[in-house]
Assembly symmetry: C2
Homo-oligomer: 423 residues x 2
């Protein structure tokens, strides 16, 4: 298939900022450079992507139709990439020293698929020996990590999240034509139904973001919610929205760690927090739930997860989400097993997250000049990569989205069907 090596990639470049693929004429390409580039593609599982070196020369294996090209601006960038691709690709892309010709999501999907093919086969069983353990999240460390990501400014998130509930978690698209606003409301309702909310119920929420779920529950299901979050900016925002909507008698936002939840509740819910908890703290989270959940209480945890253990991508963990770790179902059982909590329902919404992220990325691109005015060009490219990379991860099965409903072991007040979720 040699002719494919010179095939013209006719896909339009969908990514603002990727308009120039300028080679640096001063640096020549050596035979060693070429060989290393080929080795890198091989090590990545021969994805359907080409590397274009700084002299314009294209390196491509050619076994499958080309999906995208990565232009590398200089040898220094190339050598950094070689040293640790999963860490440095992000920084090099952010600095525009790597630029993608073709669709960024397609490029990243091809990369993910290549790597996931590599991981199967003979390496399939190795995962048991090398189960990764991320850094521990202490009370203080958690605050720093959460501040890094969530306190970069509410106006930034307002540019591209849904307007009604400002949900920075997976939406629910039972119908693909839903708008982002509709799909986020559908997610909130889906969660409420899974929790079997009844008017007057008391609810503890661990990690409440900008408070959208708590407000939705209070407004539409007549429950009282105490919602915990350690992000100062988010709690301030959540309180002002609750005041504006006259919900302060039913919704209380507490700026504190989930480990300090006090009281007893009919329902326990946590949407998109477990990713930041860390496996070393799962048993402790189980202790908290055991302490606060009433005998016939119901719990729900909604989290990004994995099919098998793997650390968060190094660049995402460093630049975007410090301390983040998406667990497998097996790892999550550390929360439930010690007290014998009974898992009632697990739903995997992986493709819903890809859909959610597509909406976010679209709005993000529409507001890219505002983002650049708030931050800078590198930030713009970093967050584009993070959003596009997340779409690719969910599309290629590298990331999952689990909603887990659970109850205490002796609770026999369980519904005999899940039909109430779909009425």
């Amino acid at each position: 298939m040699k002719d494919q090596k010179t095939a013209t990639l006719t896909l339009p470049s969908a990514n603002a900022g990727d308009e120039r693929y300028g080679a640096t004429p001063r640096q020549a390409v050596s035979a060693i450079d070429r060989r290393l580039a080929r080795k890198m593609l091989e090590a990545a599982g021969r994805p359907a992507i080409a590397l274009v070196l700084w002299n314009g020369e294209e390196i491509y294996d050619g076994s499958v139709p080309l999906m995208a090209r990565a232009h590398i601006s200089d040898r220094f960038a190339f050598f950094r990439l070689l040293r640790n691709p999963s860490l440095h690709f992000g920084d090099l892309y952010s600095a525009a020293r790597i630029q993608i010709e073709g669709d960024l999501v397609d490029f990243l999907v091809a990369t993910y698929r290549g790597m996931s093919d590599q991981q199967r086969g003979v390496l399939a069983r190795l995962h048991k020996l090398v189960t990764p353990r991320p850094r521990a999240n202490t009370l203080r460390g958690s605050r720093a990590n959460i501040h890094h990501h969530y306190d970069i400014g509410n106006p930034f998130y307002e540019l591209w999240l849904d307007r009604d509930y400002q949900q920075y978690t997976c939406a629910y698209f039972p119908d693909p034509t839903l708008t982002l606003e509709q799909a986020q409301a559908a997610k909130l309702e889906h969660v409420c139904r899974k929790l079997e909310l009844k008017p007057g119920d008391s609810v503890a929420e661990a990690g409440c973001g900008w408070g959208g779920l708590a407000r939705y529950m209070a407004k539409h299901h007549g429950v009282r919610v105490r919602a915990y979050n350690i992000s100062h900016e988010q709690v301030a925002y959540a309180r002002s929205r609750a005041r504006a909507e006259g919900l302060t008698d039913r919704v209380e936002y507490v700026e504190d760690d989930y480990r300090n939840i006090a009281g007893e509740y009919d329902k326990f819910v946590s949407i998109g927090m477990l990713e930041h908890v860390g496996p070393g703290n799962y048993a402790g989270l189980g202790d908290v739930i055991h302490r606060v959940l009433k005998p016939n209480g119901r719990g729900l945890i909604h989290t990004i997860g994995r099919n098998k253990p793997e650390l968060m991508n190094a660049w995402i963990e460093k630049r975007i989400f410090p301390g983040a770790y998406p667990p497998t179902l097996r790892e999550m059982m550390e929360i439930f097993e010690p007290y014998g909590f009974s898992v009632l329902d697990v739903e995997n919404l992986r493709l819903h997250y890809a859909e959610t992220l597509r909406h976010w990325l679209k709005r993000y691109e529409e507001n890219v000049s505002s983002v650049e005015a708030m931050f800078d060009r590198t930030f713009v490219r970093a967050w584009r990569l993070y959003l596009a990379g997340s779409i690719a991860a969910f599309l290629s099965g590298s990331l999952q989205l689990f909603q887990i409903v659970f109850a205490r072991p002796l609770d026999n007040s369980l519904p005999f069907s899940r039909a109430h979720l779909y009425r």
Copy 2:
């Protein structure tokens, strides 16, 4: 609450065969006997049950209202019970040397709840250190184990299982007024919908019992099924039913181990087999599924399970189900993780199994004279205890029933909602 010690138990004895609680007049009861009896109740977590010793003397802690009495016929029986209650209770009950005054299921629920309260508290975390591992099931050993339970005669099972599909697994009662026949058909349909069966699909079934699911799938969903089972009697029965119903062109029953499944299939299903597979073979089952499931194939495993690891009750494992072990979700991940299978849906149908068993026990009692004619009185009592004990285990959260749907990691042909299960 001392007066409760002499409270009259007014519950009628619902269990045929428990009509006499004859004391053995020759044996006196000593102070040591009394103390040991009290200790035993204490060790069992002070359940709401009384022990009646062979001289008619009642031992009861009295802290909660009495639910039932266990009459122990003689000191030898008492000492065997003390030595290993979970193993010997069954044999002593079967031999009528222990008899239950009050409802047998209530008695067993009280026992289970007492034990499960014991296990919480300080012992909650110990489970990690003492994860039990049952005996390995070799190819030959599996045959012997399965023969022990399933080949004791189709006519026996016909006395109390549903007539249409002879399902010896949990039925599905979305409506509690369903008959057993309706609830088993509802279970089969629920499984077919979870598998997203399409006409023409090929299905591999591992552990097909009397072949009811395969016949249902072929008849109602127009698929071709190859169903494996190592029980000779069950396969013979399944084949004759398929012939009688003109389904032999679409349903093939293979008398062989699931490890020998050959071919490639759109769907993989296994209902009530995993309990007999053993944790040491879960990775091997994953290998089988990986080998036979097409790229966009869908799989479903339906199994009795646990909230936390625990061996099967010793008596059940010895007398009823040799080699049986109900896994936790964590343990089941050994099947899915190595190949990165994606868990799409987990549903816990614990209370449905209690309901199913109630139907079975009722029919069993209605046919108890036929059972005694086929076997003997000890067999009648042993199976009564097994059925009643299983109800108690599901009602007290000691046993769970998991249905797990899974797909390959790169399969993006997933439904965006589970509403199709409830139409």
